[in-house]
């Protein structure tokens, strides 16, 4: 029986079992030769990239928009975060968590202030070509619930912990069927 191809964790190419380097990107595969994914979910995690998740176009606000405008956009758009952009360039992110933690004091005053005062500048980011396992790692390490997916300086999507849960539940039921 032929064994399963070895999937390179860096570029996703298939290699024959036993090779030391990935044929397309030269990533060392020696560790992987010893272990095989233990389940189909684990195999999916090694293969699938952030770009395989549904795209959620970011809700963008400008740095001079008021806190009230940003909050209303999040409420109306039923999203957990807005991306703060200057032209095409993302300069920050503001989440539901930030609203709770940072908007203290007199809310009537705070609501009129610019969102740039309360946003997180230079948030953690990922690319569509990053592995889903990498996105999970980032979220777990940083305690993030949202990660902007970047194309250069432009945010093209925002993935959330909810997308990850959905991705996993789909894989779990696939496996059980």
């Amino acid at each position: 029986m032929l064994s399963q191809p070895l999937i390179c964790p860096a570029c996703g190419s298939e290699n024959i079992v036993g090779v030391e380097q990935c044929g397309s990107c030269q990533q060392s595969l020696t560790e992987l030769s010893l272990k095989k994914p233990r389940s189909s979910v684990e195999a999916s995690l090694l293969r699938d990239v952030v770009g395989d998740l549904p795209v959620h176009a970011p809700l963008a606000v400008s740095p001079t928009d008021t806190v009230a405008a940003a909050l209303s956009a999040m409420d109306a758009g039923r999203v957990g975060c807005v991306v703060v952009t200057e032209g095409e360039r993302m300069i920050g992110i503001f989440t539901e968590r930030d609203a709770l933690v940072r908007l203290t004091g007199d809310l009537a005053t705070v609501r009129t202030e610019p969102i740039s005062k309360y946003m997180t500048a230079h948030p953690a980011r990922i690319a569509a070509s990053d592995k889903i396992a990498f996105a999970i790692h980032q979220m777990e390490l940083g305690g993030y619930r949202h990660l902007p997916v970047m194309e250069g300086e432009r945010c093209v999507s925002v993935i959330s912990i909810r997308d990850i849960l959905r991705y996993l539940t789909e894989r779990i039921s696939d496996g059980a069927a």
């Binding site: 979910v41 409420d75 968590r97 933690v101 990053d130 396992a133 849960l165 059980a176």
Partner: protein, 154 residues
């Protein structure tokens, strides 16, 4: 151990539930927001005696702040319907599905009398997953950068 199997056999208590943060229905929304902040939590259970009558989350906080609501009002006036909860003997897989289907980030664990004993969070679930895929998740290079462009190298 096979991961899918463990999802269907392991109890939800393995997914790092937090101890429940609770308040009473007559507490003001302002006080509840402060409770969430000081405890670094995203949700609080509202109790009537020992029984859970509602859940107040960050999402509710955002909605109220966005609409400029009166935050001195008692929290019971803004509670949604009774939250979905699970008992402590359900599996991790069931809890994940229930959260994913309902779009919940918090899932209270209650005993048969309706008394809350814990709270499952998406973060706890994520941690559980990471613990079960350490090889896959931690050994991954951050970006697909080839170690050398040319096979012949230097």
């Amino acid at each position: 151990m096979d991961w899918q199997l463990s999802l269907e056999t392991e109890r939800v208590t393995a997914a790092h539930p937090e101890s429940p943060l609770t308040t009473r229905g007559d507490a003001s929304i302002d006080a509840v927001l402060e409770l969430l902040r000081s405890n670094h939590r995203g949700a609080v259970l509202v109790l009537d005696g020992e029984k859970m009558v509602g859940i107040f989350t960050e999402r509710d906080a955002l909605r109220l702040m966005a609409r400029g609501a009166d935050l001195s009002a008692p929290v019971r006036t803004v509670l949604a319907t009774t939250p979905i909860s699970v008992q402590r003997d359900v599996t991790v897989g069931t809890a994940i599905r229930r959260m994913s289907d309902g779009g919940y980030r918090h899932l209270p664990i209650v005993d048969y009398t309706g008394r809350p004993s814990g709270m499952v969070t998406v973060r706890g679930i994520l941690r559980y997953l990471v613990e079960h895929f350490p090889d896959t998740i931690y050994n991954l290079p951050p970006a697909s950068t080839p170690s050398s462009q040319l096979r012949e190298g230097a």
